[in-house]
Symmetry: C2
Subunit: 548 residues, 2 copies
């Protein structure tokens, strides 16, 4: 009631509307709008700083009950000030503090402070790079940013870039929402280049998969990727009309890299079958689950031998090329036909920023579309060769970040991540309660907690069967991850590794990309896991009854 | 040199890096960051206010030459302050002033001031709604926003929303980058529901289009849409492996609405053919080129009769439902199976914000994907049923905007657009030099300038053939649009209407969505077009030689 009196009823009228579209005319209203920005910048961050935890403990069910209104109010119910206050005070504490150095479970992490400013610029300019008429210089700028990353990947000669960087008929790459759509774009191009219009066929894009295959006497096309391939590969095959069973999974070796012998054998087998065509082989530069890098030079050589499109999913690893110390880990990426990179991962950009690149500047001609009102043939509209239409001008964020950070600035982040991961792995090896499952090649590693009674040894092997041992280990590690997440002080993720010849193994997974994550912090996280096990899991395990 | 002295060399070191990730610890650095925000908020807007023009006149070639660097510098080359200054002083003047009330050519326009703040919040929180572990409350919030728009569209009963709004197994819709991906998502679902896994078939998603069709003795599936359908429909058919020839174009009537007789006849024909299956009929609620709305209730009735998925592309028109005065123009949309809406169009959100909705909360089960490390079966992760993976939490922008504007606030914008379009059309009819080609049904209309000597009359018909008359009219209007755009004071777009039984007609196209576009402004734009014609085109036309 008091509040009702203090605040006039909100109304939607032309005067109120005009205020939201017009420039604030006086100093006072400018100050108010700046004040709001200050609250957003520091109100949210202050919260995150005080709130070292990852998230509050309110159960999801309870949270969900608070968001059960399905009607849009007719009259305004909040001012901008109310919205900001509510987000800072009520929403943010229930969001996930991805910028905490204790949040080391996913590929979402802290971003440099200035990224928020750069995102604000994108919104304030509100350009739409789908066409020149709604973006002009921003389209030109975007081409430059794409060329810079293209060069980082493929390192072609100066003449190549001079020729193609601003040539309307050339396309070095495309911004998309994320790695999923980047992979989809690359495979869309690969599909259309495998099944193009010829004298004997209208081609897949125009005539569909069924006819394009039939015209060539084919029964199926396949995509080969290691078993650690991202699920977006299967999704892309599903979307593109190949069916996700088209994805042929190649096992990995002990280092989680694609088994080249099996790759070679599978390619021979598929190519022997006159009804099968191989559409693409995908190498991974930083698998989602273990961070491993496939043997790219060898895969490239095999692809060339078989004349198959070579795509590299470097959504995670791509920016490692910026490091003089570790860039060599991605050797062979320059031999790819197409590459996926996620800007919101190791370029440390805010969500969302995906990119796909093609070595051949004409590759994306295979997916060109025109319309009568925009994207007319011969125009320089970027929307002609692109999966998506309208989109935000996120090239401004990446381009500016490259200027502000320099390759060296990014290299500091990359090097820190890789070196912290190595230190973490050493610590795992040092602690008797843990077992390292996959050593870090980049900055991701997996491990698990192995209780005393379940440690592999002559004695335990006699008393617990391998299968029940694994079942118990999986159970223990699922519990640890869940209890740690719910406690809210730190966060690691978990996944189930399915490696050929080995049973499904539940592992704890850490992604080390936050420059503020120090050995002191990861030790605290490991200590917490040990305590969780000892205090909350061990008592109910009754291992004793199993190990007499 | 002086500058070199004044400013220390930029270096990338750990200290500099720490500053970008840490909280600013003191008042002074906070003030600097706030100051930057102020510059972004008002520097860009001040530019736009002073710069009434749409864009500077620098030719594209010259602009392109300025953006031809393809190398990423090793050391930092700019501070945030430099980046902001450069964007305000050099980039923005070459961008397109889409917020000018004189920019009435595309579906990109001014946005309320507070939208920039809301976008900043999204970047600052940097949540990733692909999974609960990187978004928590934001996923729950997003479900609420989706339910609100779902209810605006389908208006199902309270019990329906109580049941599904937060039920993890239900999906009312999905945020995607734009209308293209929304249409693609809807058609992906429709494809998989037409060709599901059954006892006789593995289904399209898993087994591919070729096998799924073969299993059913089908040769093709078709999508029916009017000839004014957005080009993303053809693109979606291409991507999904149907081939873009699967899109069967239904002609429009004189009001640019789908011809129902032809629709009925085509459906009968396709259904008679045992080798053809109709996958979807698409009704358009606001065609891109003319703003026309298809007869949705009748199309819905026909779809039900034939048992075909009914998709409505309301990328443009959807938010008209918020207007009590004009919401009825979209009658029948509630009968759709799926609907596309673009938030960055008539919800006035910044780029980019697309959405797709399904009446059946289980529809998106047809496109579910899981992974071992996230999106596990049974989890509430939103990424399970979604084309895209990682993405920005744009639901925060739309949800907050609905609170701030209320339906009534949006209705003011919608009503203004429709009524301004009507006034514009009246003005066209009043001016003898113009001809209205498509009257506005919503807030889009097309027209052309018809010079004296080319006016259709008994005399002119005798002297100029219809064909050469049309060719000259097309030429004149292409010139007008180009010269007006290049002059940089105002912007209308042009398109080529291809209507059955009529020759290709070049038209000027206006989209009236900026609340600051008044009759005075559109009259000035028409005056300018007349002047451009008289001063720059007529002298070289030599119409006299054609009209003796």
């Amino acid at each position: 009631m008091t509040e009702q009196k203090r605040r006039p009823q909100l109304v939607a009228d032309h005067e109120a509307l005009a205020r939201t579209f017009h420039q604030p005319e006086n100093e006072q209203s400018r100050n108010v709008l700046t004040k709001y920005m200050e609250q957003i910048l520091f109100g949210l961050h202050d919260f995150l700083r005080e709130h070292v935890g990852i998230t509050e403990e309110i159960p999801l069910k309870e949270l969900a009950a608070q968001f059960s209104s399905s009607t849009i109010a007719r009259t305004p119910v909040k001012r901008l000030a109310d919205v900001i206050a509510k987000i800072i005070e009520e929403l943010a504490p229930q969001a996930v503090n991805v910028s905490s150095p204790y949040f080391i479970g996913h590929m979402t992490s802290a971003i440099p402070f200035f990224m928020v400013h750069l995102s604000t610029i994108v919104a304030a300019l509100n350009q739409n790079p789908v066409k020149l008429e709604t973006s002009k210089v921003v389209s030109v700028y975007e081409r430059q940013v794409l060329a810079k990353v293209h060069r980082l990947l493929f390192n072609l000669d100066e003449t190549f870039y001079e020729t193609h960087i601003q040539r309307p008929e050339s396309t070095l790459g495309s911004f998309v929402e994320d790695g999923t759509l980047a992979n989809l774009s690359a495979l869309w191009v690969a599909r259309n280049r495998l099944l193009p219009a010829t004298s004997g066929s209208v081609g897949a894009e125009r005539d569909g998969m069924a006819n394009a295959l039939h015209d060539r006497g084919l029964r199926r096309v396949t995509i080969l990727v290691s078993q650690l391939g991202h699920y977006s590969i299967r999704k892309s095959a599903g979307v593109l009309g190949l069916g996700y069973d088209a994805v042929t999974v190649i096992p990995v070796d002990r280092a989680n890299r694609m088994d080249l012998n099996v790759l070679q054998r599978t390619l021979e087998e598929h190519c022997r079958d006159p009804e099968t065509a191989v559409m693409a082989v995908i190498g991974i530069a930083g698998t989602t689950e273990t961070g491993a890098v496939d043997p790219l030079p060898a895969i490239a050589r095999i692809c060339r031998e078989f004349g198959v499109h070579f795509h590299v999913d470097a959504a995670w690893g791509g920016p490692v090329l910026l490091s003089e110390r570790y860039g060599h880990l991605l050797k062979g990426i320059e031999l790819a036909d197409s590459v996926t990179i996620d800007g919101h991962k190791q370029f440390y950009l805010p969500m969302s920023n995906g990119m796909v690149f093609f070595k051949d500047p004409q590759a994306m001609d295979a997916v060109a579309y025109h319309a009568a009102y925009i994207n007319r043939p011969g125009s320089v509209d970027l929307g002609i060769r692109s999966l998506v239409g309208s989109r935000a001008a996120t090239s401004l964020v990446l381009g500016s970040a490259l200027d502000i950070m320099g390759a060296d600035g990014y290299a500091l982040l990359i090097d820190h991540g890789i070196e912290t991961a190595r230190a973490f792995a050493e610590e795992i090896n040092r602690r008797s309660m843990f077992e390292l499952i996959t050593a870090p090649e980049l900055n991701i590693l997996t491990y698990r907690l192995v209780p005393d009674g379940l440690r592999e040894s002559k004695e335990s092997n006699e008393t617990i069967s391998g299968e029940s041992r694994l079942r118990m280990l999986n159970h223990v590690n699922i519990q640890i991850q869940r209890l740690q997440r719910e406690a809210g002080n730190s966060f690691v993720s978990r996944t189930t590794l399915r490696r050929s010849g080995q049973p499904d193994t539940v592992v704890l997974r850490v992604v080390l990309m936050n420059p503020r994550t120090t050995p002191k912090i990861f030790n605290a996280i490991l200590d917490e896991q040990e305590s969780i096990y000892l205090d909350s899991i061990a008592p109910s395990l009754r291992l004793k009854s199993l190990t007499p």
